[in-house]
């Protein structure tokens, strides 16, 4: 990489950081428990809007993994999400009604908060419908992973998003608060993912899965990116660029082995497709606050499924991380 390219990335990083500091001022604290954060704590960051129904299981899952503190940005929820979050003891919440789109789809806000509270910590940046699955996550807490990453002088951990969907119609996948969404939206595509490298940022660019074949078959190049780097040891000056797909400095994106071996990596199980999805699509299309002119939601709304929306004969039921590893979708690398 040429010096000039490196310098341009440095400028981009500075610009994004400055922007995040400016955008951070749009946030008003609604519950501040950041003083409870201790030295080695793992902190989770997320932006939410009207997700109250998902929150009970979300907390159950991540508390069990060992996440010590949660930081949320609430973007104008009106279904009681904010109140629910405030009532939790290990949660800090910031509130804003400003534009999600103009805050880099929420990333400016999160970059701002990360810079303020996460420096020196391992932090997990996920949406409330994403569940972080890493090797041995059934027997080892997330601190075991972060300790090992520290020992290996590694500062970030890569994952691949795996979309799950129910058998049958999405609108009939009934979900009640507290249910495990991975047992309702419980099928996934095992082997139709395509891998490329993004030269500019150095990250992998993964596309495919159920969303590509289901909603983007006509324009596969526009299918959503599935590469995510949700777990990062935060350092002053780091910024997420586009969602958690890539970061700056560039070295944080090199989470994969390029010499033929494999490094430890995980998956994010993405349980977007539950009954709430159809109402959410209408709402999001009206708000026009999503990436690339809400391309994704547009495709969803146009899509008319038959008996099954996404399920087909090749779909496989989701079990656990070992299943994902044997399919080659993640790897325990040398973290045995």
């Amino acid at each position: 990489m040429k010096f000039w390219d490196q310098y341009r990335l440095r400028l981009e990083r500075k610009r994004r950081r400055a922007r995040s500091l400016r955008k951070r001022r749009e946030l008003t604290p609604a519950a501040l428990n950041v003083s409870k954060i201790r030295e080695d704590d793992v902190i989770l960051f997320s932006t939410v809007r009207n997700e109250k129904i998902r929150l009970p299981f979300f907390f159950e899952y991540y508390r069990k993994l060992g996440v010590n503190h949660f930081c949320f940005v609430d973007n104008g929820s009106d279904d009681g999400t904010l109140e629910y979050l405030i009532s939790q003891p290990d949660v800090s919440v910031w509130h804003t009604t400003r534009s999600y789109k103009r805050a880099g789809f929420g990333m400016d806000w999160l970059n701002g908060l990360l810079g303020a509270y996460a420096v020196g910590h391992w932090c997990l940046v996920v949406d409330v419908d994403e569940f972080f699955v890493y090797p041995h996550c059934d027997t080892r807490p997330i601190q075991a992973l972060t300790h090992w990453l520290d020992q290996s002088s590694t500062r970030s951990f890569g994952t691949q998003l795996v979309d799950t969907y129910p058998k049958g119609k999405i609108s009939e996948a009934h979900y009640r608060p507290g249910d495990n969404p991975m047992t309702v939206s419980d099928h996934f595509d095992t082997g139709n993912y395509y891998y490329e490298r993004n030269r500019k940022y150095g990250n992998l660019w993964i596309q495919g899965g159920a969303r590509q074949r289901g909603f983007f078959a006509g324009r596969p190049a526009f299918a959503p990116a599935l590469n995510k780097i949700p777990l990062v040891k935060w350092k002053r000056g780091n910024v997420f660029v586009s969602s958690t797909h890539n970061l700056l400095p560039r070295s944080l994106n090199l989470v994969y082995a390029h010499n033929g071996g494999q490094r430890a990596s995980g998956c994010l199980v993405h349980t977007k497709f539950l009954e709430m999805f159809s109402t959410k699509t209408k709402e999001e299309l009206a708000r026009k606050q999503h990436y690339a002119a809400s391309r994704e939601y547009n495709s969803y709304s146009k899509h008319r499924g038959g008996k099954n929306d996404l399920w087909n004969g090749q779909s496989v039921k989701y079990k656990d991380w070992r299943q994902l590893e044997s399919l080659g979708l993640m790897s325990s690398g040398d973290w045995a």
């Binding site: 139709n192 494999q262 325990s332």
Partner: protein, 566 residues
Amino acid sequence: MELGFVILAHENLHRVGALVEYLAKQNCAISLHIDAHTPAKESNALRDQFKTNKHVMFTDSIHCEWGRFSLVQASLSAAELLLQKHPNIGHVALISGSCLPIRPIKQFKHFLSRHKATDFIQSVSVEKDKWVQDGLNEERFTLYFPVSWKRNRFTFDKLVQAQRILGVNRQIPTHIEPHTGSQWWCLTGKTLQLIVNDPNRAVNDSYFKHCWIPDESYFQTLVRNHSERIESRSLTFAKFDAQGKPFILYDDHLDAISKSDAFFVRKVWVGADKMYAQLLASDRDKVPMSKVGAKSIDEHFEAALAQRTSGGVGYFNAGRFPGGYAGSRGQTVAPFAVYYGLNDLYPDIVNWLCKSSDMVCHGHLFHRQRVEFATGAKNFLGGLDGNVKIRNRNPYGFLQNLLWNDRENKHCFQFDLRDHQAVRTRLTQDENAHIIVIREGWILKYLAAKKVGKDVPSYARQLQDMERAFLLELEQSSTSASVSTFDLQDVLENPQQILNAATEILGDAPKHALLDMPKMVDLNGVNKALRDLKNAGLTLETVPLAKPAAEKQADKQPRSTPKLVQ
């Protein structure tokens, strides 16, 4: 006293405390060294905890650095202190603060009582054997290492390089024959006394001070001068990963680790509550020293190491994307077969291949209008979609996925010039690809297409040019695929040959003798077509057939002769 321990600790002192307490209760002497960089609050708390315990003693703290003599210094001073207080001690074991006993101490003592004069220390001669997995081996002893690798990697590497260029070769003291081995040992009190009170101690220390990683060579070397009997193995289980740091043990290793034939393990994760509770329980039963599965934990970590450095073929994930040289090979999971031109000769070849071989036989996987999976379905294993646009977005990725998803089976597919060509270059560069090519197979394609009224010469030329380009590509040096080329002439005259090659292409014998031949395309037009094409000015290698083999009996028409063409 039968048994003493020298413990080197530098972090998680609450865990060290638990370990020391457990050992002290078992009537063992413990000499502790706590690193000088450990926060004073923690180390003082540990000292206070054992202030009144007559079994536990603390040496003066120095700062230990990985790979440097300070680690040996700490072990030596702790050992000296222990020997001072217990000059007649039976055995002394060196362990770290993150080690745990796999077996009860009673069992360990019993084991040692049966080996009263044996020193358990891995000690491998540097000249004769190579214990060091990666990095410096002999140079550890013949170069100078004045700076820390952990802190000054760049300077360290440059200094090594410079010394190599200058030809630095340190004089090894005559009484020393360098040996290396695991840092963790268990020596008899007598041997340890002799090493500590060695008349050459000053020479030894000053020599090893400038060696690299002396903690893996100081005792391992000197024990050769003083021991009566050495068993060259470590009683502490430790495995190293690709970065040279020990694999960390977690609760889920508990079952496998208790099968190991060692007495201690390192290194245990500080949060492994279950492991600490179980291995430090005061009422532990004897753990049988069975040989069954003793190596299973070793193999477990060796497999992980291989996976990290070279493992995995034919698939990708967020932690694996081979590039450069690695990216040019091992991209597909298994050998597969590609037939160019065969489908035009035998329209029903796919079905025939299905019957005659064990391969999964796809049609034209890269057909422009559709994806012809072997199953005839719209999608394939793994959710691979038969959508042409998705396939064309990354055709080679599509093939990789197909092969990976059904990796239990062997695959073959038809490929010709009318198919989507983007995959072609990667195909020829894939060492797993076995390609059968019929040279001038395009003539058959032309024959098939002529029926729909194509403009003869220009279409034929186009096909010929495309095939030439393809054949040129196959001849290039970047081609790793194994290519078998057949001339159309030979194929027409002796079709058995190519059919044999097609079924045996991946090294398997055909399912049964090839009695039932596939139906060849109607060859009546071939001779006429060849003449027409030649008359239109194309250069062809195939000459009109004297007697098309498949038509020997069927052909009732008068044979055309070459003369007519000219």
